[in-house]
């Protein structure tokens, strides 16, 4: 028994030492909370692309707004002041703050859980030890070493992630790659509950001081998500809440089709604020998807083309939890469609616009 404990301790020491790397590089600290909000998927109350009313509610659809938990950035560890999001980034919508890092950096996320359920922050792509994985399962490490696997309501936990070369661009990538972070205490329910955000890792020597790639003028993020509200942790309380469910619909989840929303950055039917860009800019689109059963998407840009993975195209293929980069140099001014070409998704409102200015 003591041998077993010793070997576990050794393993933990090993894990910790593996995670500690010589750091002459930057430590980037983010203060992120999971906050409860009433999220409105269509704040304008109409279909802004067709300029007509939203489609009638489906029989068991609660409405267009649901209580959710989302990641939001704060100015410091007191978590009293939200970090303001500039108007040009309003289109990010339901997504948490963009985390930027450069190969060689360390990312520290001070996480406060203001939601009523235990939540976590799990990063894709970056190097985390078991204590910063934020995902509970049997991996031979005692749960007591992994408090980040389920941060209780009101509590704070600090996740530390390294950014080795294997978290940065591969030989076929541009100057930066996309990852994501999301809650993983109960993965499928957590992702439908809301907390998710993008991570950008830029190659060493290719970054500005803020971590963005030097050769890119404008970064735009778009998340294609089928939000299954009936799989959200809040669904029972949403059904019971007359503000959310004014028709008193008797709905039970999970996988209730009527409460699945087809969204880009948490917006339907063109309700996403329009990201703008200028002619001739090097625009980098970071496109991601979530993990519901219909999360196979075909994002399509009108008006311009992109280069993704060395190929010229105007359409990407996303599987669940995809993270894809596409570069655009706009040459065609105007307001253009950006939507998913899967018929069911498009009909369900998975459409947005972007604007190219002179």
């Amino acid at each position: 028994m003591s041998l077993r404990i010793a070997s576990i301790l050794l393993l933990v020491v090993g894990l910790v030492s593996a995670g500690v790397q010589p750091s002459q590089a930057t430590v980037r600290t983010y203060y992120i909370a999971a906050d409860e909000v009433v999220w409105n998927y269509a704040p304008s109350g109409e279909d802004l692309i067709a300029q007509k009313p939203l489609p009638p509610l489906l029989p068991l659809q609660l409405g267009w707004q649901y209580r959710k938990a989302i990641y939001r950035a704060y100015t410091d560890a007191t978590f009293t002041h939200l970090k303001p999001r500039p108007a040009s980034d309003a289109y990010l919508g339901i997504m948490g703050p963009v985390i930027h890092a450069v190969v060689g950096d360390t990312v520290v996320v001070v996480f406060k859980n203001n939601a009523r359920f235990p939540l976590t922050v799990h990063a894709h792509g970056l190097f985390y030890t078991k204590s910063s994985e934020g995902a509970p399962y049997l991996d031979g490490i005692p749960a007591s070493y992994k408090p980040g696997d389920g941060v209780p309501t009101g509590k704070t936990f600090t996740y530390t992630w390294q950014v080795p070369a294997r978290a940065g661009p591969g030989p076929g990538d541009g100057s930066s790659v996309l990852w994501m972070y999301h809650s993983h205490s109960d993965e499928v329910r957590d992702v439908n509950t809301g907390p998710i955000g993008p991570i950008v890792v830029t190659a060493k020597g290719m970054a500005r001081p803020d971590g963005t790639p030097k050769d890119v003028d404008r970064e735009v993020f778009a998340m294609f998500a089928e939000y299954d509200e009936s799989s959200s942790r809040y669904f029972p309380s949403n059904v019971a809440d007359p503000q959310i469910n004014p028709r008193h619909v008797k709905a039970t989840g999970p996988f209730l089709f009527d409460d699945m929303l087809w969204t880009i950055n948490g917006f339907v039917y063109g309700n996403m604020p329009m990201p703008t860009m200028h002619l001739g800019q090097h625009v980098r689109w970071y496109v991601l998807s979530t993990m519901s059963d219909f999360d196979f998407h075909s994002p399509h840009w009108h008006g311009q083309t992109v280069v993704s993975n060395g190929m010229r195209t105007d359409l990407l293929n996303l599987a669940p939890m995809s993270m894809v980069v596409a570069d655009m140099t706009p040459d065609n001014p105007g307001m253009w469609l950006f939507h998913c070409h899967v018929n069911l998704h498009l009909a369900g409102g998975m459409e947005a616009r972007y604007e190219v200015l002179k």
């Binding site: 190097f127 991996d139 999360d295 939890m321």
Partner: protein, 341 residues
Amino acid sequence: MKAAAALGIACLALLVAFCEPAAARVRIHYIAADEVMWNYAPLRMNPIAGTPLPPLLPTQLGWTFQKAIYREYTDATFAHLVPVAPSERYHGMTGPTIHAEVGDTVVIVFRNRTRFPFDIAPSGVRSTPNPSAVLPGATRTFRWPISDADGPGVNDGSSLLYVYESDVNQRTSESAGLIGPLIVTRRGQARADGSPADVDREIVALFSVQDEFQNPFLSLNLASAAINPRHFSGREKTFENDNYIHTINGFAWGNMPTPTMRVGERVRWYLLSTMTPADGHAPTWSGQTVLSQGNRSDVVALVTPHAVADMVPDNPGVWLLVCTLNIHLLNGMEARYKVVK
């Protein structure tokens, strides 16, 4: 002087060894389609969550089914199975790995030891004779010449993946369990066994929704009191859905033995998929990243039957390999892999 000469000769020998195109090999495999009782969850629990298996769905037969899988034998007598090393047991129901270098010819002596007609047909590679049904009990030899056009393309690494399957009726054959990997290595980049010389460890993972309703053994499974203790007729409304089993290498709910690799090894993951309407997978790793087609990622879109991803593990521990599609993950399409120092 003598030493210098010896060194020169040694260098020359090395040069010759590296420059001379390897002689094309004929690689013979004795492969049978065998009937087996397959248990998708032999641990009778979920070792990832540390919980019992979920309760059987209302009309689910169970976790054990009669199936047919490809197995490799030592010779044409088909008397002795080629032993599976403990480190390879995670391959589960996935057929034996067949390696070839471009220029080689793979010879498959195929015996059908099941009660249904099956064959063995490679995707992407020519077969002579053309694959066609091999009757129960019969043996037939197929030759798969591996041409340059079958080898890795400019964007591929040193090897690529095809699948072999029975194409007598692909859907029912896949649901029986008949599928395996064919790995083709670029000319001049293979070891003697055909595996790529620049890879330290190859891992095979078959992501499959096994559709037991389409399994040709269905009526036998229904008739067996051991397999069908609740005596379903198979005509229940929910029967088809309840008997989709969500598997990696034929294991559900983390029951796959854990493949182990070392920090710093060059690991190549070969990801296969069956192609039932319920398939279409997003294999995702925690703990490490991979390179696939030159792109850094931790997920591969497995919407075609095969994909390759390279990993150099740098993070020791036990980590997840799952399909992140919610329906698949919630139904047990999850496994673990282990990285040791």
